[in-house]
């Protein structure tokens, strides 16, 4: 089982960043969501089991070029409403890493739950995401993933 106790600090700036992250996804503000990442940002979705095995058998794994394309195609092709809940937002002392537990509802059904593991950096005074790992707590992926979760 994934250990989730590495980050323990409550950090307002990290809280705000994650709040913005889910707001952008829930309100379909794809371009704004992309701006939360650094230019060398990376986004992946993986089940917990593969994450622990470190086998890189990903469900989604994209650099910014591919992520931009996913947003573009997802916004066109996936009109389902998404609603995120996040809790347990914690960072390490210098806010270079953060974790948060998430649940995503699509339309009226719970679709995914898991944990975000974020690698953060500061650019022109702003906290940005360099790597976002959305790790799913599930045996079976029941809902296709067009847009990021």
């Amino acid at each position: 089982m994934l250990k989730l106790d590495e980050n323990r600090c409550i950090n307002d700036e990290v809280n705000e960043l994650l709040d913005e992250y889910v707001l952008c996804l829930d309100r379909r503000l794809g371009a704004d969501w992309l701006r939360l990442f650094s230019d060398d940002g990376y986004y992946l979705v993986i089940r917990e089991k593969e994450y622990l095995q470190d086998n890189n058998v990903l469900i989604v794994g994209e650099d910014m070029k591919r992520l931009r394309a996913r947003i573009e195609s997802g916004l066109l092709r996936d009109e389902r409403r998404m609603a995120h809940s996040i809790s347990g937002v914690r960072a390490n002392a210098d806010a270079s890493r953060a974790t948060a537990t998430f649940t995503v509802w699509i339309e009226d059904r719970p679709a995914y739950s898991g944990v975000y593991r974020l690698q953060l950096l500061r650019l022109s005074g702003q906290l940005r995401i360099q790597r976002c790992e959305a790790i799913l707590f599930c045996d079976i992926v029941h809902t296709p993933i067009f847009l990021p979760i």
Binding site: Q53, N55, V57, G61, E72, S73, L76, D78, I140, I145
Partner: protein, 400 residues
């Protein structure tokens, strides 16, 4: 009581909607098809050492493949001989001993019961050896893949594969080199199990359903042309391999951005539920194991494989490329999963006419054109054969 197969049309040119909708037909499929055909269980590379296991469902029955201390890989029913408890819940992993959680009956990796707490209460006639794990009647290996069959009278795996065997052999190695499994996970879709097999073997849909995905992919990766996979003249076929089917093409070398040595794409469907795929554009091999849950719900166990010699960096890269088109987050995969549910909903219009699988039916040859339905019709040929439908009664061009 009426037989759900009475007056049913299941190919060769048209298929009744009931085949995808009727729970009674689904139950017959389980009994007549899934209990009598060879089902994929595991890949060789999942059994590196004694105690490595893979669990699966065989026609709905839980089974467990495990490599024994003696080096032999066996397939057992995954159930304790005492109260029937499921012995192993995990999909795969390693066990030194199989211990039932209920009363701690313990079996070794060869399937022998060796410990029963307070066994004396069963009396003098109780014998550990009478209570070993129950083996599945048939368990055979081909090209590094293990298949099981509940039917003791079934033909050998190799003879069952028939003309599909050479395609499976080619798909499941990298230019002669064995493959290893990097990992496997499950996803589901809300539709009948046959839709995934039909879809994988049907190249006709790719250009249309995935038009946006392929155009975007071609732009993103600077592939020549718009679709991203222009065929070589005369090297793109839909194949009828008796009850199995395949889509076989040579990809244009301009689209092979990862490697340029292996251009042949094979998407092979082994009747009824195993798919082996090699895509030269991403240079990835995958298996899909179709697991019917109900008439309108299906799970898919999807494997990612790599050449045995691939180093850690190469394996990481293959794992990363694997998802780009396929699976629940893949560009084409999401389109497919969504369209299956939409087809299933549309099929509920029961008097909407039969499903049409007649493309290229006039070309009476095992090898059809790229957008023909030869491979799809092969699936239905197997379906009719195992469901016991009388081929002679079928009209070749029956339409409602």
């Amino acid at each position: 009581m009426s037989n759900p197969l009475d007056h049913l049309v299941a190919g060769p040119a048209f298929v009744d909607r009931r085949c995808y909708l009727d729970p009674a037909i689904f139950e017959l499929e389980r009994r007549h098809i899934f209990s009598r055909t060879w089902q994929f269980i595991a890949h060789d590379s999942e059994f590196q050492r004694a105690g490595d296991f893979r669990s699966a469902l065989l026609s709905g029955e839980p089974v467990l493949a495990i490599r024994g201390e003696d080096g032999t890989t066996r397939l057992f029913l995954n159930t304790c001989r005492h109260k029937g408890t499921l012995l192993v819940e995990e999909d795969s992993g390693h066990l030194d001993v199989l211990r039932c959680p209920y009363h701690h009956w313990r079996y070794d990796t060869n399937g022998h019961l060796f410990s029963v707490p307070r066994a004396e209460a069963y009396g003098g006639n109780f014998s550990l050896s009478d209570n070993d794990l129950v083996p599945v009647p048939r368990f055979e290996r081909f090209a590094g893949m293990w298949f099981g069959n509940l039917d003791p009278q079934a033909p050998s795996l190799e003879s069952y594969l028939g003309p599909a065997a050479s395609y499976l052999q080619e798909t499941c190695n990298w230019q002669g080199e064995p493959l290893v499994s990097l990992g496997a996970y499950r996803y589901s879709y809300d539709a009948n199990w046959k839709l995934l097999m039909e879809n994988t073997l049907d190249d006709y849909h790719a250009e249309y359903l995935h038009d946006y995905a392929f155009t975007q992919r071609a732009e993103l990766f600077k592939m020549a042309g718009t679709s991203g996979f222009q065929e070589k003249e005369g090297s793109r076929f839909s194949l009828d391999l008796d009850i199995h089917g395949a889509f076989d093409q040579c990809d244009d070398v301009r689209t092979l951005t990862i490697q340029q040595r292996r251009e042949r794409r094979i998407y092979l469907g082994v009747f009824p539920s195993f798919i082996a795929l090699y895509n030269p554009v991403w240079d990835v091999t995958s298996f899909r194991v179709i697991e019917p849950v109900s008439v309108d719900k299906t799970n898919v166990l999807t494997y990612c494989l790599a050449p045995q010699s691939a180093n850690a960096t190469q394996r990481q890269a293959i794992g990363e490329r694997f998802h780009y088109s396929w699976g629940p987050g893949g560009r084409a995969g999401v389109d497919d999963i969504q369209i299956f549910a939409r087809v299933q909903r549309g099929l509920q219009a029961r008097s909407g006419g039969r499903v049409n699988i007649s493309r290229g039916i006039e070309h009476d040859h095992w090898q059809g054109g790229p957008a023909d339905d030869h491979a799809v019709r092969a699936l239905w040929k197997g379906w009719r054969r195992y469901m016991g439908m009388d081929e002679k009664k079928e009209a070749r061009h029956v339409e409602t």
